[in-house]
């Protein structure tokens, strides 16, 4: 086993920013807007670094797909403890239409190329909320998957994953190599300390293009329109439960 873990990190609009839809409804405004690493990807990086600190794995490689700025996200991962980075360059229109299927193909290719033992991703990105990349990548690689992980432990050449599911918690044991996706309660990401931020400067980020990996990134999806959700209307207060039932019947809800 190579002892190498690939961690996918996505550059998304910062969670605290108020999103604005572009006037032409083609998407959201991203220019000049604060971006940062997807919170679930942070949790994924933290888990990978923890595994390295516990000596279960030897190397953490942070991967991001996107334009030049994606390197900042990789650098944050390096400052958290990743050893090196891979920047898959996707720009312009290609980047606008880049979705989980293409990213999965890229990750699958990289996982094979880097002889990865483990691929850890965030469960979903906070911009598209797709929750697909991890699952698709596992399928493409024909690897087992432990998604929505809230606890991960390596036991020999198997991985025990506690998953958060609708009914509660499910514990599974899967073989390696495998794909894991991180859920909220998996860990609390560490702060990138200043000494580590400075050290991260020396770590390498390799640049590749999707074509180099033999991946075709043309999208089969077309975004027709993006709209804000409808304005939330004012509520109505009612005095009694009977009033409430009456109002609900009136509006046709029940």
């Amino acid at each position: 086993m190579s002892g190498r873990v690939l961690v996918g990190v996505k550059r998304v609009i910062d969670y605290a920013v108020k999103i604005r839809v572009k006037p032409d409804n083609s998407g959201v405004v991203t220019d000049g807007v604060k971006h940062s690493m997807n919170p679930f990807c942070e949790i994924a990086v933290e888990e990978a670094v923890k595994l390295k600190e516990k000596k279960f794995i030897k190397e953490v490689v942070a991967v991001s797909c996107g334009p030049q700025q994606a390197q900042e996200t990789i650098r944050t991962a390096l400052a958290m403890g990743a050893d090196r980075g891979i920047h898959v360059e996707v720009t312009g229109k290609d980047y606008d239409t880049l979705g989980p299927l293409q990213v999965s193909k890229i990750f699958a290719a990289l996982a094979k190329k880097e002889d990865a033992q483990l691929l850890i991703l965030g469960k979903q990105a906070i911009d598209d909320d797709c929750n697909q990349t991890g699952q698709m990548t596992a399928a493409l690689l024909d690897w087992p998957q432990g998604t929505f992980a809230s606890e991960v432990s390596l036991e020999g050449d198997k991985i025990k994953v506690v998953r958060e599911i609708d009914g509660g918690l499910e514990t599974i044991k899967i073989n390696t190599p495998a794909v894991l996706t991180a859920d909220l309660r998996l860990n609390t990401p560490r702060y990138a300390t200043l000494p580590n931020i400075m050290k991260a400067k020396k770590k390498k980020i390799a640049q590749v293009k999707p074509a180099d990996l033999g991946v075709d990134i043309t999208s089969r999806l077309e975004v027709l329109r993006v709209d804000e959700p409808p304005q939330r209307l004012a509520g109505v207060t009612v005095e009694t439960v009977d009033d409430l039932v009456a109002k609900l019947k009136e509006s046709g809800t029940i």
Binding site: A16, I126, Y191
Partner: protein, 485 residues
């Protein structure tokens, strides 16, 4: 040169997210607020109640975000990475508790400093280490009155845990700390990093540095600065605290005022008269543990603002401390304190510039949704024009700050520019606070909003860390307009 009343780097409240007091694990708090912010709520402002939708108010995009890393005057990608990481700490460990700390009149300095210390933010421009048997300094400023040394670790020396970075990184830290939603906590941090420790870092003996500097950088010990007294603020040379040599000890009698962190500090960097010579040459800096017999914390001072920062009046009653606790040379204390003023003052400006940005942004958001005579308050020309004026001046101040910092890290004496920046910062903060508070109307007068806290906290800036009048006198000196003797 004079020194002043309140020894503090001053900052006021910042925008951030109005935190909800939910018992969620930290990570969940962030993601929960994320879930909320994804909805396009109108910014509601119920009197008294903090609704979840308040968290929706978007973070103002700091002006540095509009500049690409390569274009910034002094900041590189590393500075921005530093700020991003520090911002997370501010958002997760500090801002959620600010309201409570303001109400309690103190904040847990040991806890907060330990978190910052672990992340390396308390020793940004402090020495990395020291070689056994001595140090060597790298680069000296040629300008008068200023000596700056960088220390590098030699083989087999003490590691102080500092990062040895230049002052532009300290300014990056100070600007980012301006996102804390009060002035008290950044001020307390500033005392720890840039007021109580610079002289020790530059001139202290190896032993002294190991006992006091190392744990202060690590965040294990809380420091405070003892310079101002009840009878001596701007006029540092007239302090009365005396340290009389008796054998190999100093016996200290006197008192200090306006001691930020004073009620919880482990040690105080004390300026005292150690001889009978001329007033600028008879003072020394002494590292004094606060738990020594004879040290009395007389009271915690009730103030107009900066409530989360505990400010103490301290008395010294025959306190005995070894002579080796003196920083550098005896009689040089006054000079040592003076040397770091440029840095202290620029640091204070860094804080307030971000805070003013945030207050203006928050005021824009409020006035955009608040209607008066059927129009948003913001759409009235007197309002949007005034905010434009204020923002213009904030940008001017920011430019001055960065210009002074750029010159300083190249080795220039920036006393004049730093004094101008501090002067402007104090006055502009009062204008911004006053004008913005007006636009919040009745809400601005309540304790529920940040602008009223900023109004109170920022008033200190024209007084502490070098009063406006002192700054003006310094500038006149450089302009050569003072009366000749």
């Amino acid at each position: 040169m004079f020194h002043v009343g309140i020894k503090s780097t001053v900052c006021a409240c910042a925008h951030g997210r109005l935190s909800t007091k939910m018992a969620l694990p930290v990570g969940a708090l962030r993601l929960n607020q994320l879930a909320v912010s994804r909805n396009f709520y109108k910014f509601t402002c119920c009197v008294g109640a903090r609704s979840l939708s308040d968290n929706v108010s978007s973070k103002p995009v700091p002006s540095s975000a509009t500049e690409v890393a390569g274009d910034h005057l002094i900041y590189t990608r590393d500075h921005f990475a530093l700020q991003e990481s520090l911002r997370k700490i501010v958002d997760q460990e500090i801002n959620p508790h600010v309201d409570q700390w303001e109400a309690e009149g103190t904040f847990p300095a040991h806890k907060v400093f330990k978190i910052l210390g672990n992340a390396g933010f308390l020793g940004v421009n402090k020495p990395v280490g020291q070689r056994d048997g001595g140090w060597w300094s790298h680069g000296e400023l040629k300008a008068t009155n200023v000596v700056k040394g960088f220390f590098y670790p030699g083989g087999g020396g003490v590691e102080y845990g500092g990062l040895g970075l230049d002052f532009s990184y300290s300014i990056a830290v100070s600007e980012e700390l301006g996102n804390i939603r009060c002035g008290g906590v950044p001020m307390a941090i500033g005392v720890q990093t840039d007021m109580a420790t610079p002289a020790l870092a530059r001139f202290g003996s190896a032993e002294l540095k190991e006992e006091f500097l190392l744990p202060s950088i690590a965040g294990d010990k809380v420091a405070c600065l003892g310079v101002s007294e009840v009878g001596a603020g701007s006029d540092v040379s007239s302090i009365l605290t005396k340290a009389v040599k008796k054998g190999d000890e100093y016996v200290i009698n006197g008192g200090k005022m306006w001691t930020t962190n004073g009620t919880q500090a482990d040690w105080i960097c004390l300026l005292a008269n150690t001889s009978d010579g001329p007033p600028h040459r008879n003072k020394s800096l002494i590292c004094l543990p606060m738990n020594l017999p004879g040290v009395h914390i007389a009271r915690k001072i009730e103030k107009l603002g900066m409530w989360s920062s505990d400010t103490a009046e301290v008395f010294f009653d025959d306190v005995r401390v070894p002579c080796k606790n003196i920083v550098g040379q005896e009689g040089m204390g006054f000079t040592y304190q003076m040397l770091q003023f440029q840095e202290e003052r620029l640091w204070a400006v860094g804080n307030i510039v971000t805070m003013m940005d945030n207050i203006i942004q928050e005021t824009i958001q409020y006035t955009r949704q608040r209607k008066i005579f059927k129009l948003p308050v913001l759409y009235h020309q007197s309002v949007n024009f005034r905010l434009a004026e204020l923002q213009t001046e904030v940008e001017l101040l920011r430019s001055l700050l960065h210009r002074a910092t750029a010159l300083y890290i190249k080795g220039n004496d920036v006393t004049k520019l730093a004094s101008m920046a501090k002067l402007k910062a104090g006055r502009l903060a009062r204008e911004v606070g006053d004008s913005c508070l007006q636009y919040w109307g009745g809400m601005g007068f309540t304790s529920d909003v940040l602008v009223s806290r900023f109004y109170r906290d920022s008033r200190l800036l024209s007084i502490g860390g070098g009063a406006d009048e002192v700054m003006l006198a310094i500038i006149c000196k450089y302009m050569d307009t003072l009366p000749k003797k």
